[in-house]
């Protein structure tokens, strides 16, 4: 488990998450609480996608004006996936893991309701 989370640590979106957590809470929460990365890694494995892809899909470029806007379709998709992840997980602490995945998304500008 010690190396868990290391594979995704260098993804741009994970670096953004780390930076957001540091700015918000001080210290280095991802280093202090490695279970956060583990939770994200487990979610990525669950849906078979990497963190950068998840974040990228949550946004789209609006044709009319070229603005980067939230993709309602993909947001809804990931909200469903996160619910499945929470409900199917055997982890007794699945609500905490779900919160960690949501935290990753929030610090990348994606707010999901689950």
């Amino acid at each position: 488990m010690e190396t868990a989370g290391r594979q995704i640590e260098h993804c741009e979106s994970v670096r953004t998450w780390r930076k957001g957590l540091i700015e918000q809470w001080g210290g280095d929460p991802l280093a202090e609480e490695p279970e956060k990365l583990v939770a994200l890694e487990r979610f990525c494995a669950f849906i078979g996608e990497d963190p950068d892809t998840i974040v990228k899909r949550c946004f789209r470029i609006r044709k009319e004006d070229g603005e980067r806007v939230v993709s309602v379709k993909w947001r809804a998709h990931y909200a469903e996936k996160i619910k499945e992840f929470r409900d199917r997980s055997n982890d007794p602490d699945s609500r905490r893991s779900t919160a960690d995945v949501l935290s990753f998304l929030i610090h990348n500008g994606v707010l999901l309701q689950v």
């Binding site: 929460p29 919160a99 935290s103 309701q113």
Partner: protein
Amino acid sequence: MEYQELIGSRRSIRFFDPKRPVEREKVQKILEACLIASCAVNAHWLRAIVVNRDDIPKAELEKMKTPVQALVVELAPVHIYFYADLGVVNRIKGSRLKELVDAGALNPTHGWSHKFVDELVFPQLLKPFTMLPNYPSMAAFDCGVAACQGLLMAFELGLGACLTAFVAPIVNEHTKPPEDWMPLYVMNVGYSLESPEAGGQRPRPPFEEQYFLGQYGKPFPRDPKVVEELKQSKLLQTPAPLPGRKEEVRQLARKLNLPM
């Protein structure tokens, strides 16, 4: 709590104890405080429908959430949905003004009589007033005054509260208001999990940018002595963020399994 301290201590509370119910009598006291608020032409536009969160089917509650109020709605055990009853003026036809005449609040000294209400105030002022484009906003202002009294009462009773918008088409399926009720805000009520200071008094724009004397552009002078007095009375309190606020929020996030 003293009045000035009560105003100064109110915060928009966003972390409630989701399992601690709010006593019915406290909800009634909130509504009673709304009812006695100052009200134009004694019309009483404000209407409220109290909903216990746990009485809302889970699927419906999910639909009632928006990205910015989802957690507040989920945590608060009581939702007080506020509406403006836009039809009230034409239904009561000045009768509540006449009650004020009978009660000695409106007197001939100021030109008031039943005949004045029946022949001038209602037909020539109030009825046309309800057809003005800004009538709903005037009514909403009045409702805000009343709701604010209820909000302060919640804090007086040791509760926490937060006003948020609500998704009227969905909430209305549950609350079933008459068609002429205009949806306003929901007061989310519960026992706060935050410390009483809730991180300190929240940032506000500069006083001089908000208020003017005589005409727009001439700021109302803010007397530092008055400011000092208000600090003593605790209307003005230490501004946020207080030391330890981040740790407080972090602990709340852990306790409630929320993202950080």
